[in-house]
Symmetry: C2
Subunit: 450 residues, 2 copies
Amino acid sequence: MTRKIRLGAFLPGGGQHIAAWRHPDQPADGATSFEFHKQLALTAERGLFDAYFLADGLAIAFGGGIEGGNAKVAGFEPVTLFSALAPFTTHLGFIATASTTYEEPYNLARKFASLDLISDGRAGWNVVTTATESAAQNFNLDHQHPHAFRYRRAGEFVEVVKKLWDSFEDDAFIRDRETGRFFDPTKVHYTNHRGEHFKVRGPLNVSRSRQGHPVIVQAGQSDDGRGLAAQTAEVIFTAHQHIETAQEFYRDIKARARGLGRNPDHVLIMPGVSPFVGHTLDEAKEKYERLTSLILEEDGLALIKGLTGGELDLTGADLDGPLPPAPPTEGMKSRQALIRQIADENNFTIRQLYQWVASARGHFTLVGTPATIADTLQEWFENEAADGFNILPPWLPTGLNDFVDLVIPELQRRGLFRTEYEGRTLRENLGLPFPQNRWTLAQGAVQAAE
Amino acid sequence: MTRKIRLGAFLPGGGQHIAAWRHPDQPADGATSFEFHKQLALTAERGLFDAYFLADGLAIAFGGGIEGGNAKVAGFEPVTLFSALAPFTTHLGFIATASTTYEEPYNLARKFASLDLISDGRAGWNVVTTATESAAQNFNLDHQHPHAFRYRRAGEFVEVVKKLWDSFEDDAFIRDRETGRFFDPTKVHYTNHRGEHFKVRGPLNVSRSRQGHPVIVQAGQSDDGRGLAAQTAEVIFTAHQHIETAQEFYRDIKARARGLGRNPDHVLIMPGVSPFVGHTLDEAKEKYERLTSLILEEDGLALIKGLTGGELDLTGADLDGPLPPAPPTEGMKSRQALIRQIADENNFTIRQLYQWVASARGHFTLVGTPATIADTLQEWFENEAADGFNILPPWLPTGLNDFVDLVIPELQRRGLFRTEYEGRTLRENLGLPFPQNRWTLAQGAVQAAE
């Protein structure tokens, strides 16, 4: 089978661009409208996307004080929202973000396993360590744990969750009404995990789904983040401005995965792309300018403050001057570096910087026609920079509709994207292998060795 | 308006009676079938039930070893399941059980607020402290915290969750595209909670629903449990075998609520009832005998062991002899006492005891015709024993269908139950008041005092 581009869609109901809600196409109350999210899911499935993706935070992302222009202050919790959306779709995957720092493995394993059953094998978990002071302060802490601690805990957390997901072998359920045997006790397994951070006996009280267990997704770009991703992730969400850095990242991750004994084809790398699509380049540029013109200064500054670690106060700074240095962060180290890089490379003023990152917070912004956008995606896909892309439509539903109606047909014409879903589960559509239950595998391995 | 009976329905897909799954009417894989749960929700709404109710545990309820007859070993997590069911219904409430001992207030507040938005104001939270050793061992503990500690934590937990739910006043969102003001910063509030167990800054990143916030439900019957319920609960789920003890409980809770300055009419007391309904008494008895005959001895013993605190090993005991004493428990103290009471009052042998409690784990089992069952419900309702009932159909869907098709029309004929939903939200249907946001109220109180 020819290799195909994989596509995820980031579809927060409030829109991606910070001024999206001010655009007349975008429902101003989209963030809290279930009906709107349902329409987005149906459109993503019509576009044959692999998955609907949602980021998540465990605090309101106020940049400084409480700004009044932020449309993302309140919305749904992703796992409950995706549970509600799954029954209206049949093939679309649902990748929800959830935190290893502020959850417990048993609870997290359970809710994702439940989403995986409700969707009949279409769930994914985007593993994050949650890098904000404001989240720490919602969980009994004054300050967040150091970056390295969070990643050590994350590594163990994912291990425990995967063990819990294997509590029941796939043929554990007999359900024999005659004998009264509902399940085979030899195929149910205690977890018995004891590590640095967790002590979890198990078993989990949710069984495996049609796809075994949810797809593991990761987005870390720091050295700790890359290590965790190479070890555990099946899909990696990443942010790059240039094909060169994307290639460096791609090759590094694939090499790390190979070094850990993993098949590098089972680690899909998907950079984020924020597309402004026009029938002509001028139309695309107009769309970009239109949204840019809707950004309020205070919201732009709050965005920069948040993306650089939350400690950089730009109140009173010259917006048409350069970005001052930011203090080091225990938060999203790699995101802080990326923002700095964008400012430096483009000689952006503060104002130009927030205008540029407003559409996708540092992800690659593409302004063009279906052909030029497809050219770029194809170049990245065919040159070890990407196995697919996470599409972040700047505003909704128009940004998504434009991509589905204009860019996807172009990718299909080039033979780069599916014309129908290959499988029923998220794993099948992503071309990822079914994860054999470790207990079944252990027995199978003995038999194979005989 | 005449006072009406409120009805909740306990509808675990695996059935309530421990042998339900062996009954030919019950889908053997009901516990993990989303479609089956959807059919149950639709039937409950057809029956005009106030709410679909689900219990929950954070461990597999193995009585001793790993028994093979237990159909409740694996199923959905309630909040994700209810999120998926809500869009298929329009009036039915959804009351999910969740733990104050093994969750964090921010996460719990968030998922319930999200379910409340998805269902447009039909969510309820059944507050439990989770009383099993096996759950403790899934959350980094060797043994569970003492009963009194769990209840102190629960009291503070509910307080924090309710504060978080008030983060946004109901008119906080302006969404003015022209000025770029999405919300009014003076109507968003930090929680700033600092207590014995929790430090939570807030605000919550989910806004309030049409009903303000989810209905608070409680089921504690010990002195600690009654105290918590009288202070915080709007609905109380309780277990009684006789009208006299139900009346004692009812009057005690109402007096405690009144003593705390609450309107006792806003604390609804709903005992559990497990009905076997027949057109004749003989038919009802046959239904009871039929299910009873399907209980395996080992499952019956595991049930008794679990209900008496998990420490009573009956292996080798004479099943036709009396129940031996059980060691004191830090688990469900009141449930242990209730099981003992049932055994003593009825002079039950071990076998008779497990046959009796198999249908509803100590809740009131009624075997009768629509008229005799309605007589009992009416007697309890009109004599300070109940404001309504939680119906626990022993097996599904037949036990639910029987109640909806036979008993509900009888209650309606007597003018005791609604013939259509009164409102759109769970609160409106239960006749509970809209909870004013504490911040709006604080300002309103000042104005009222002027």
